[in-house]
Symmetry: C2
Subunit: 408 residues, 2 copies
Amino acid sequence: MSLVATARPSTAGLLLDLVRTAGTISRVELAQSSGLTAGTITHIVRDLIQNGLVHEVGRSQSARGTPRRLLQINPQAGVAIGVQLDRTTATVVLVDFAGHTLATAGLRGAGQVSPEETLSTLAGQVDELLTRTGVARGRVLGAGLVTHGPQDRQRGVLLTDQPAPSWREFPLTRTLSAALQVPVLLENDATAAAIGEQWAGDVPTATFGVIYMASGIGGGVVVDGEVYRGRASNTIEIGHVALGSGGVPCVCGNRGCLEVMAGPSAVVARARQDEDLTARLSLRGSPDQTLTDFERLARASLGGDAGARALLDESGRQLGRAAVALVNLFDLDTVVLAGSAFAVAGPQYCDHVARALSRHALCRELTPARALLSANAATAAAVGGALSVLRSSATGARGRFAGPRLVP
Amino acid sequence: MSLVATARPSTAGLLLDLVRTAGTISRVELAQSSGLTAGTITHIVRDLIQNGLVHEVGRSQSARGTPRRLLQINPQAGVAIGVQLDRTTATVVLVDFAGHTLATAGLRGAGQVSPEETLSTLAGQVDELLTRTGVARGRVLGAGLVTHGPQDRQRGVLLTDQPAPSWREFPLTRTLSAALQVPVLLENDATAAAIGEQWAGDVPTATFGVIYMASGIGGGVVVDGEVYRGRASNTIEIGHVALGSGGVPCVCGNRGCLEVMAGPSAVVARARQDEDLTARLSLRGSPDQTLTDFERLARASLGGDAGARALLDESGRQLGRAAVALVNLFDLDTVVLAGSAFAVAGPQYCDHVARALSRHALCRELTPARALLSANAATAAAVGGALSVLRSSATGARGRFAGPRLVP
């Protein structure tokens, strides 16, 4: 996104990412995908092999011509940690250098607990996963900490009072880095989910949007395989756009935001106004139980509970309007739903979003717009955080995340 | 926006654009701005000079070291035409190779007239400008036709019934190209306005959004100097996002769109419901007079007419909400207002947008968000269309616009 050549990821980093996404690929295919010359490919791949990042895994069977030597990422070249954190949930994942998940753990979110205590718990969970998988700490390249925005990614801090005032400007990456003894980068949760979806390869296009819903609602956009970053990576705050009527105050200081009108907290709060429904589903109503309550509503809706279904339908219609805004503004035809709030409720929301897109997306004149549900809705963001580490390690990130430079 | 190296603009094209934007620049500054090596700069600049696209214009005065030879675009290297067209207005401009406007003409828009007749009128106007300025047709590199979306830029057609069903799929670029005997490319009006603003150099950042208001409302975004294109360049249809309450049907098939709630037609329609105001300002009320009526309302508002002022204030508040959505979704801190509807009403709208951004933009935690009024609100889009031609000519465009390749 810049005329400045030095701001571009290194060619070696791009090739590593192509190999990682393809799984197995030949040098010829790599040249075709990257647009680089055969000579450049040969040269860089030799370096990648010498550094132990890529290895050859045999030859392709081909009807004619010389069989091509096939390349794969060396999964042993390193491990990355992904930590997704919000008010009600947290997910920790370990991925190998090829991007495959080695272990995963779900735990409670920040809730009413201090940043220090939360990060200490998360660090303990990472230790447990490392022990369980037998991964030596020296092989960990870094951790990607994935949270809601607005963030200052360079300084590794949140620029908001959410989930509590003590979190604003708290040195998140520095503290977690000290606890884990590995470099830590900060990433937006919806952006990380987009990176996770892109890597998972289930999305049949290189240009798509993500609506991420966990405790809050965010968005991510990938265009031609590249993540939209905007000015300072605090992009696509679709949870804080007022798309409907109603002036309910939002934590961001505005009124009528999508998040406060249609997010899990809003759905649970509305459900709690119905005493029968609250008793029937044993809804707790405490802020740190929001996603548990929301999941109960989603299960009840799937099971035919009309009250629960009506609440999710109303929320789904509003999310559908947000999806239309996302595709109309960013010129997309594909929206992926990811985030732990979609773990159970996903199919119901996906129907609403698909219906809204088919009726109202401007691109319907050009191409049918589609809604897809992430195959790993609950973990996509954490995996995306770990993948950000792999990408940064390979391409030589600047700023706060001074990760190991694997490629000379 | 792509891993594919061949999809990137040529290095020569990027350098030409840097020289064009800078006005006067040395090779050393060119290396600093582009991140390219001195050797590459020397090599490409020699080609540009040999092809007559760039020339040396003296040496810089410097306190120490060797004075640097300064480069400028050769304004004589070619001329580009920009044609902005919508329902109520059209603007034709001629710009030289340096991007400076040689001549401009404003005329009526498409109104109720057929595409054939409209394009024939526009072609006649171009001829008149060429005659007036004494520019030989052989020096015209091409024309940029700038309209609302959705468009198919490759095929050079509109994919909408606006301004009338006869315009859908009408071969716009082919017809205009045949009439003018020069290549024609199709560009989105708001995107063109963003390109025009970027070139004009009044915007103090390389990352900004544009809200474009003429007969309709559109948006454009530039990130790190690069125009956001999305999937098929039909981006940022902010006029067709429902940001307020109210379900007025819109021509796009949806309800409550910003354009139908707050655009010039809506303001004029509301004004016409007030008989006193209608008589006082001699409002015509016919669709092809919308912008004339709107301008009368804007002048009356500036002159202290309370009725006119209230209507523009209401529209301005809604545009302010749209600006907040634009900056929150695209992570911007600067919004530029451009388009002929802002020619008179601009300052009043700019106040509303500035106020909305200062109160509601999420980035207010990071940086103050600002609203700027284009210095050439009425012509920015047409100039941007002409600049698109200059860029395409220099970088070797593909697809429908097979313009002359100036750089070997």
